[in-house]
């Protein structure tokens, strides 16, 4: 294949700015997908992705486009996830491209997340094709947005297509711009193989399907290949492209984007960012940028019904086949019994996994509040990594605690700067800098403990800026903090699953709001239940759940029998979703109570 006719690109956009819709239009216009086969947003193959309008797993599609110059071009469109949890995966899929289409909403302008991905693209030396979308909206201000892109990113937008992905208006201009601006691949077809892994999925018949960009050399069926990060070797059994249906080919040529299968048993063996080479003619060095991904956020997952422990393990194992970044190991809680401590890339990742477990595997789960990894330096000089607050050693043995901080960039309209600064301050943020974007917006830079972000930072940010601010963050470093473990006692009994690690200055306020929240969430039972928050054995907050004195329907005559029985059945069903901890029945939501705090109250 003639490399000069290949164009590899991604689409970068903020959630809701129309990335998937544009991808759909491109697929239609290149006749890759027939209209009648079209399901909206075809690249988002998981139900959950389609529902939430986000892309979680990547996908790559080969398209053929006859340009106005009369030549036929082969496009590879590599989809990228649009969320901060998946930054590394985005950077690897960008590394598989030569160009990126930057989609900006004509009414909303650039968002923090978009900007972050643009910088990732620039880091990977990508040619950026700006596109202004949604120009059919009455509130569209394409000239203002163009100016913003020029100011903030320094991209020339004179020729940026003004499109409506929804109606298809001017989408062809985007394709022409790709042909004109995105460079063709330039790898050496005769050099030893170097292929970049940017995604993988698990297929129960063929093992792992590896998605690669061939940077140099070629891959063909029968090749013995080697992953340069772990030296694992396999024989290629099948390879090909997707359009988006799978197409089998004899080989993937230099510059192409496609997949191969080699009877690989688990996605664990295949890391995003790894380099594939030939076993008997290996490349001298791997492609740059490979990083092992580590989970940032942990929580405990327990089956509501302890008999479902094995079902949960099997479900997690199945999910992990397709999601190498999910980690889990068995743990036990005195309160919740047997379950798993699970590690996630971020909060969205955690949410998605929980939802898939409940929806696809029909499990009823109790999730404990998310926690970050604390570094606990002991008086004997050793260091323990703490991913579960309940496991924090006793105070006497601790020399100091460190927690991870993030570098947060918040894009915010001028009128909300004060509110956002106040929020960041309340979340123990350290002010770093403020950049001017345009006359109306600024970017605030803060260093904030990740532990505060995983609490209610997103919600708070949204509500204090009416949704106009956007946030991007990356992990920066561990810093020493004055942290304490706060325990919650129900009926005098310590509930380990409710313990959290909290800054000493906030302990009192949080203890108060958690106990009040638990009082609301835990239904009255036959006896009075004291709810206490304690730090180092000292009670700092207390409420009481009064005992249930009366629980009977006033009226029940002949005609009410069915209705009354249904009410009882419903009541019983509700109980099933609760967890009996000692003598107290606790509903699922209570374990997340520590998250929904109103410190201001």
């Amino acid at each position: 294949m003639d490399q000069s006719k290949i164009r590899n690109f991604s689409i970068i956009a903020h959630i809701d700015h129309g990335k998937s819709t544009l991808a759909d239009r491109i697929l239609e216009m290149t006749d890759t997908v027939q209209h009648r086969e079209m399901v909206d947003q075809i690249l988002d193959s998981l139900d959950l992705e389609r529902e939430r309008g986000i892309t979680i797993k990547l996908n790559a599609v080969q398209l053929k486009y006859r340009a106005k110059d009369g030549e036929e071009y082969v496009f590879h469109l590599i989809d990228t996830p649009g969320h901060v949890d998946f930054t590394y995966e985005v950077s690897r899929s960008l590394a598989a491209c030569e160009g990126a289409v930057l989609v900006v909403d004509a009414a909303q302008g650039i968002e923090a997340q978009t900007l972050a991905n643009v910088y990732l693209a620039l880091d990977n030396d990508l040619e950026i094709v700006p596109v202004i979308n949604k120009i059919d909206l009455p509130s569209a201000q394409p000239e203002v947005v163009k100016e913003e892109i020029e100011n903030v990113i320094g991209l020339d937008c004179a020729e940026a297509p003004l499109i409506s992905a929804k109606t298809g208006l001017n989408v062809e201009d985007v394709l022409e711009e790709i042909v004109k601006k995105v460079p063709a691949p330039s790898g050496d077809p005769n050099a030893p193989l170097k292929a970049l892994v940017f995604d993988s999925i698990y297929d129960s018949y063929r093992g792992v399907i590896v998605f690669v960009r061939v940077k140099e050399g070629r891959i063909q069926v029968g090749d013995k290949i080697r992953f340069m990060n772990n030296q694992a070797e396999y024989e290629v059994l099948e390879c090909g492209v997707r359009n988006p249906k799978e197409v089998k080919l004899g080989a993937l040529e230099c510059g192409e984007v496609g997949w191969f299968a080699a009877s690989i048993k688990s996605v664990q063996d295949v890391s995003v960012g790894a380099t594939v080479t030939q076993a008997n003619n290996p490349a001298k060095e791997a492609l740059p940028g490979y990083r092992k991904m580590n989970p940032m956020v942990y929580c405990g997952l327990y089956p509501t019904d302890s008999a479902k422990y094995n079902d949960l393990r099997e479900a997690l194992e199945k999910l992990k086949l397709n999601d190498a970044s999910l980690q889990f190991e068995a743990e036990t809680s005195q309160a919740l019994g047997f379950g798993f401590r699970c590690g996630f890339l971020g909060l969205l990742h955690m949410d998605v996994v929980q939802e898939r477990l409940e929806r696809e595997y029909n499990l009823s789960l109790i999730a404990t509040a998310p926690s970050v990894i604390y570094h606990c330096y002991m008086t004997d000089g050793s260091m323990m990594k703490i991913d579960n607050p309940a496991h924090l050693p006793e105070v006497q043995r601790i020399d100091r605690l460190e927690e991870p901080y993030v570098k947060a960039g918040i894009m915010v309209p001028n009128e909300y700067i004060g509110a956002v600064m106040e929020l960041c301050q309340n979340k123990r943020g350290i002010y770093k800098d403020m950049h001017y974007i345009d006359a109306h917006r600024n970017t605030l830079e803060y260093e904030i403990p990740l532990g505060e972000i995983v609490f209610d930072f997103f919600d708070k940010l949204k509500s204090c800026t009416k949704g106009y601010a956007s946030l991007d963050y990356e992990i920066s470093e561990y810093k020493k903090s004055d942290l304490v473990k706060m325990d919650i006692l129900l009926n005098g009994e310590l509930i380990d699953a409710l313990s959290i690690i909290v800054h000493r200055d906030f302990a009192y306020a949080r203890g108060n709001s958690i106990t009040v929240k638990l009082k609301e969430l835990i239904p009255k039972q036959q006896f009075e239940i004291p709810v206490q928050a304690a730090v180092n054995g000292k009670i700092i907050a207390r409420t009481n759940i009064k005992s249930l004195r009366k629980n009977v329907l006033a009226k029940c005559y002949g005609g009410d029998i069915s209705r009354k029985k249904k009410l009882l059945e419903k009541q019983k069903e509700g109980k099933k979703r609760m967890k009996a901890v000692g003598s107290v029945e606790i509903p699922q939501e209570a374990f997340m109570a520590v998250l929904s705090m109103d410190d201001d109250k």
Binding site: K524, N551, K555, I561, S562, K564, K565
Partner: protein, 370 residues
């Protein structure tokens, strides 16, 4: 179907779906009274009775609503005439009435028609509250009405009361209880307000009082009424000795019963039927909207559920007679647990809820569900 399950059937419920005005808490099958509609309704009711209820004397007949006394005097006479085959010789014939409707002419018609028990919608002894919930009488009017009834010899009177109303204070409730004692009537029923979705309260988003206040009001009422000589014979019902409602006891014993009229229900063996709530359907003779077959398990549970509402409790002999198996073996775990918790009491003849078990009956019954 369980061939052995035979229940007693000696009662008839008749529903009159008309009211002079609609009360704020009500979601029953009822419409504002309209003379022509009521005439047509009575004609249809006669047809339903004839076809569905064997012409035999019942032990009890209960005419409820709605407000049966919303009918004109002529219509009321017509209704009682058409019920004659069932009321003649009956031990208890109850009619629901509103205090403002009680007039000498009405009382005459009721007595002639065989009525021997009146259930009055008193609801409260506080005029302010009566007005708020959309009632059309004052406490004084109610007192007058009761005097008239008693003078005419209709002394088997019950009053309905509501508590836990939005904004109601403990003091107001105490005053209402004292007001009831002053009436010297042999029976009263107390209902805590449930906000029904389709009532005015439900539509306007009103909230009942908190559970704790409601519980206090309930326990206060139980204490006050018991002290005054009433027997607490069912969760919400109190009566002087010999004045418990025979008709309602049939429901609570899980006996069979006939139900006729718009929105009425009945039970015959393994079947419960619900009549339509739609006038059009009813007028065209499509009386029954739904017929539900009850499994043996349904019937056993429902029998326990209903009987535990009464102070007397479930008759062990009756249960075994119907289901050919002792209740203590069907529900051994639930019963053991209830006994342990002090919710239930078991002797040779009855399984009954204790005072604490009665107050927490929903929790107790949950154990009996599989």
């Amino acid at each position: 179907m369980c061939a052995a399950a035979t229940f007693k059937n000696q009662s008839l419920y008749v529903h009159i779906p008309f009211c002079q005005g609609i009360c704020a808490y009500c979601d029953f099958t009822r419409v504002r009274y309209h003379a022509g509609l009521a005439d047509q309704y009575l004609t249809q009711l006669a047809g339903e009775l004839e076809q569905r209820v064997p012409r035999q004397a019942m032990e009890t007949v209960y005419i409820g609503g709605g407000t049966p006394t919303a009918l004109s005097l002529g219509q009321l006479r017509r209704l009682l005439d058409m019920l004659k085959p069932y009321t003649e010789g009956a031990l208890e014939v109850t009619i629901e009435a509103n205090p403002e409707a009680i007039k000498p002419e009405l009382i005459d018609i009721l007595l002639t028609g065989g009525v021997n028990r009146i259930s009055l919608g008193l609801q409260s002894c506080d005029d302010q509250i009566l007005k708020q919930i959309g009632r059309r009488h004052t406490f004084d009017q109610a007192r007058q009405a009761i005097r008239l009834l008693q003078q005419a010899g209709l002394t088997n009177i019950s009053c309905d009361l509501i508590y836990s109303l939005p904004g109601q204070t403990r003091e107001q409730w105490t005053a209402t209880l004292q007001g009831v004692l002053s009436l010297n009537i042999p029976h009263c029923s107390l209902y805590s307000l449930t906000i029904e979705e389709h009532s005015e309260f439900g539509r306007t988003g009103r909230q009942p009082l908190d559970e704790d206040t409601e519980a206090s009001m309930y326990f206060e009422a139980v204490q006050v009424l018991k002290q005054a000589g009433y027997q607490h014979y069912e969760i919400s019902n109190f009566a002087f000795a010999g004045y418990a409602s025979r008709h309602n006891l049939h429901y609570w014993r899980y006996d069979d019963f006939y139900g006729v009229g718009l929105g009425a229900s009945g039970k015959l063996g393994a079947f419960r039927y619900d009549n339509t709530r739609n006038f059009q359907d009813y007028f065209q003779g499509r009386w029954i909207a739904e017929k539900i077959e009850l499994t043996r398990e349904d019937q056993m549970f429902e029998m326990v559920m209903m009987n535990l509402r009464t102070a007397a409790g479930l008759s062990l002999i009756e249960f075994e007679r119907i289901f050919q198996t002792p209740v203590t073996s069907v529900y051994s775990e639930a019963i053991q647990n209830g006994l342990r918790q002090g919710w239930l009491h078991l002797d040779e003849e009855h399984l009954a809820a204790t005072d604490s078990g009665m107050a927490l009956l929903n929790t107790v019954l949950e154990e009996f569900l599989d």
